[in-house]
Amino acid sequence: MKKKHPLLGWLYLLPALLFLAVFLLYPLIDVLVYSFEEGYNFASQSYRGTGLYNYAYVLRDPYFIRALKNTFIIVIITVPLSTGLALLISLGLSKIKFLRELYQTVFFLPYVTNTLAVGLVFMILFKKTEYTDGMVNLLIHAFGGSSVDFIDGPYWAKMFVMCFYTVWVVMPFKILILTSALAGVPEVYYKAARVDGTGSFRIFTRITLPLISPMIFYLVITGFIGAFKAYSDEVALFGTDLNAAGMNTIVGYVYDMLYGDSGGYPSYASAAALLLFAIVFTITMINLMVSKNKVSLH
């Protein structure tokens, strides 16, 4: 082979590098820079000074604390719940033959449905209007309970709807992944286990679970990341003024700081975004460390 010019490889990479630099690297650095510039102003392109002031402000901002709390609650409730439920449903699906394809389609529907359309459905289920209390309240009445305002009512009710919604929206993808992971476990392992007299619970914990554990951890890690970035689902349920509803999330806070009614603070937004990044990064690292010991890659 002819010896290539050493820069030729870089030339081939140039188009991709250029795009990455302009649309990824530059904004990333920019955000980092903004986050240390005090009182940056878009219009005048000026700032007062540099330092950790923005971080200090954001961490003291009650709206950010609320957003942080909301985000953590959503993450801690929905990630294990949706993964666990998806695993149960996938197991069920892998056990039945009759109508399996129909069920698979039904379970996958939320994935292809528009977030806002799903939000509308949830409104019908949960929202109190002048004409009706919503379907869920009708059910509660039927069992002798009293009405709860899930959309504009107490915090726990709103959080319940929020988590319900999030779980429902993220589950289809998990079911899809887990169903194929379960189908990927060779039948012969189950045969071998049966011949050895293994009970079905033990087959699940000792054979099925370890063999699909790489997929479960993939789902947990991406689930954490996805839940920390929650925003559009909240808007779908509670509208754009999430602070008023007390249901804001970190990404929502970042957005508000940039473009919201009280917005125009790119420095605060950048600091919040970097705090989110630090949280997600830490959690992901912990996840990876745990999975290294638990997950068997083969």
Binding site: Y189, A193, V195, D196, I207
Partner: protein, 363 residues
């Protein structure tokens, strides 16, 4: 433990559109296997031998017929209650467990009175590992071992619970040729040492003949013949068995018996007491002797030198086959020979009924 199969039949019902016909995988199979015997279940793929194995171990339920382990009727028992050890073609070792954990796994399932203490479990694992000679591999994962080693682990896992019957489903077919030879000797050794009644399924006749006490030849779900390997080879029940056993394959010809003499084409081969009529004639490749005065005249296509032996590829007017073979001592046929006469060994020549394929006694 003695094992008895009684009129065992398995029919897989046809699926509505794709294959509407029922599949009769095993048909009225009756067989008695003595305690400590090693039996080879032999046949071409799709002959029902694996289904037969599944029926014995309980992974499939028979459509009709009974299975007895000793005096006990186990037909309605699941595999976990039969006390069988099963070795799979691709070993089926759990990839996330070490060899030790794999071998230990069946013991950890034991409940109630059968439950073993930790020390007993370790002892049994060590013992099983010692029998198959993998003691130094106990901490490895299956992926870190060769196929032959994995197969030994699979056997150890099947033996560790001291099964009544050891079943091996095509245990050697995933190994390369050299390992296959080694491992089959190994299986024989392990079986002798433990004395466990064993059944192994294979499509390789050489494999089956070399290590089995008895072989069972199956075709399309029906047992064709059952007996000691040499006996089945020397006295095949029908044309299928004769063709299935032996490499190179038996040569088949169209022949006829007239006035107490057997003719193939124009050549008169030998005297026989079989009734006059048309027959299929089989002659084993080693049954042809180079004899220039012999009565069997063949056209030689090729002479393949194999060292100790020479394989003569020939044609004959009495057979449509192009690749008839004779195995003769090395150097007895010159490589440029175009014609050769042979005489035949009477015990290597078989007559088969043209209709049924059943063997007809030559004399």
């Amino acid at each position: 433990m003695k094992l008895v199969l009684e009129q065992l039949t398995k029919i897989f019902p046809g699926r509505e559109k794709k294959n509407p016909k029922d599949v009769r995988a095993v048909s009225e199979m009756s067989l008695t296997i003595e305690d400590g015997e090693l039996v080879g279940l032999l046949g071409p793929s799709g002959c029902g031998k694996s289904t037969a194995l599944n029926l014995i171990c309980g992974l499939e339920a028979p459509t009709s017929g009974r299975v007895y382990f000793g005096e006990e009727d186990v037909t309605d028992l699941g595999p976990e209650h039969r006390g069988v050890g099963l070795v799979f073609q691709n070993y089926a070792l759990y990839p996330h467990m070490t060899v030790r954990q794999n071998i230990r796994f069946p013991l950890e399932n034991l409940k109630g009175a059968q439950k073993l203490t930790k020390e007993e479990v370790e002892e049994r694992v060590q013992e099983a590992a010692r029998i198959v000679q993998i003691e130094e591999l106990l901490e490895r994962k299956p992926a870190e071992m060769s196929g032959g080693q994995q197969q030994r682990v699979a056997i150890a896992r099947a033996l560790v619970k001291k099964p009544n019957v050891l079943l091996l489903d095509e245990p050697l077919s995933n190994l390369d040729a050299r390992l296959r030879l080694q491992t089959r000797e190994e299986i024989k050794r392990i079986q002798r040492k433990t004395g466990v009644t064993s059944i192994f399924v294979t499509h390789d006749q050489e494999e089956a003949m070399s290590i089995s006490d008895r072989i069972v030849v199956m075709k399309a779900g029906v047992v064709q013949q059952c007996g000691r390997p040499q006996e089945v080879y020397d006295r095949p029940a029908n044309l299928f068995v004769a063709q299935f056993l032996g490499t190179p394959r038996i040569n088949t010809f169209e022949g006829r018996v007239k006035g107490g003499k057997l003719f193939i084409g124009e050549d008169e081969l030998l005297k026989t007491s079989a009734p006059d009529g048309e027959y299929s004639v089989g002659i084993r490749p080693e049954g042809l002797l180079v004899d220039d005065a012999g009565s069997f005249h063949c056209g030689v296509t090729a002479v393949e030198v194999m060292g100790r032996d020479t394989s003569v590829v020939f044609t004959h007017a009495g057979s449509g086959e192009e690749q008839l073979r004779a195995i003769v001592p090395g150097g007895s046929v010159a490589s440029d020979k175009k014609e050769q006469a042979f005489s035949v060994k009477p015990d290597k020549i078989f007559l088969f009924d043209k209709e049924s394929g059943e063997r007809v006694e030559l004399s």
